[in-house]
């Protein structure tokens, strides 16, 4: 996907584990893992707000646009 979430990089910089971050932002480990592995299709502002608060960063630090073809719809 062209929009990447650099959560893993930010977690490394802030030295926070996935489990700890999940508890702090009140998101399940599974969902946080989806974010970390860039499998998410959309992020709520409330989630972005919680992440930025806990990681003490800006949304721009987490979100990055990478050039590439747009993602295709899953063909049924």
């Amino acid at each position: 996907m062209p929009i990447r979430l650099n959560l893993d990089r930010m977690m490394l910089e802030r030295r926070v584990s996935l489990t700890e971050l999940a508890e702090r932002v009140d998101i399940t480990l599974a969902n946080l893992s989806i974010l970390k592995t860039n499998k998410a299709r959309a992020v709520r502002f409330s989630t972005l707000d919680a992440l930025c608060r806990e990681l003490k960063c800006q949304p721009g630090d987490l979100l990055e646009f990478v050039e590439g073809p747009p993602e295709k719809d899953p063909e049924a």
């Binding site: 969902n31 989806i34 959309a42 992020v43 989630t47 899953p74 049924a76």
Partner: protein, 222 residues
């Protein structure tokens, strides 16, 4: 996540029953067709009367020649020869087997959709494909059933021309079975209900596909 609904379970059981019944009938039909002693029975046989010279009740008016066309009736007689019995088998087996196979296909697809829903798979790729298959099956059968009827009807008519002679009735003129389409149009027509339902089911498959997309979006929205 399982989706528990008594309605879905009952509907699935019903389709399962229809499916099983169709399989049993498919097995029994050839046996029944080969049983001796049954009538040969063919509906919708196209007929017409010979040209009749009729007198009027008003003496001053001239005679007229009239013919009644586009009649249809049920042909029924007891097979007396091996050829008669062979014809009976063709009439019983060909449309019957096609109809039963179609019914089995529909019941099986719907049974699988219900089973998927019970397992929590409502908007899924599997259900989309199943519904598409169902729509295509309905459309194909609405056309195929007409072709089969025409073929069997032509077969019966040809048999009657070869083996019987009539004084008071005329059979439609001979020709290849697909030519009889025009002659038989008043009696045999594409099952429009089935065709429309097939198209509606295809539209429903598209609705399910959109539902799948929305579900995926929602599942992967954190």
């Amino acid at each position: 996540m399982k989706y528990s609904s008594r309605l879905i379970s009952n509907v699935r059981a019903l389709f399962g029953f229809v499916r099983g019944l169709t399989v049993v009938t498919l097995v029994l039909l050839p046996i029944i067709a080969f049983l001796p002693g049954s009538y040969l029975n063919f509906p919708n046989l196209p007929l017409k009367t010979p040209t009749l010279v009729v007198k009027n009740t008003i003496p001053s008016e001239p005679e007229r020649r009239i013919q009644i066309e586009d009649l249809s009736g049920r042909l029924k007689f007891t097979p007396a020869t091996p050829e008669d019995r062979q014809l009976r088998r063709v009439i019983a087996l060909v449309p019957g087997m096609a109809g039963l196979l179609f019914t089995f296909g529909v019941a099986h697809v719907l049974w699988r959709v219900c089973r998927n829903v019970e397992h929590g798979e409502i908007f899924s790729l599997r259900n989309v494909k199943l519904l598409r298959n169902l729509g295509v099956l309905l459309i194909i059968y609405s056309v195929t059933s007409v072709v089969i009827e025409l073929w069997v009807g032509s077969h019966v008519l040809q048999y009657m021309r070869d083996h019987f002679s009539f004084n008071s009735l005329e059979l439609p003129s001979a020709g290849p079975w697909w030519v009889n389409l025009k002659a038989s149009t008043p009696l045999i027509s594409i099952n429009m209900n089935q065709l429309v339902i097939g198209l509606l089911v295809l539209c429903l498959a598209e609705v399910f596909r959109q539902g799948l997309k929305l579900q995926q979006e929602a599942a992967l929205t954190v």
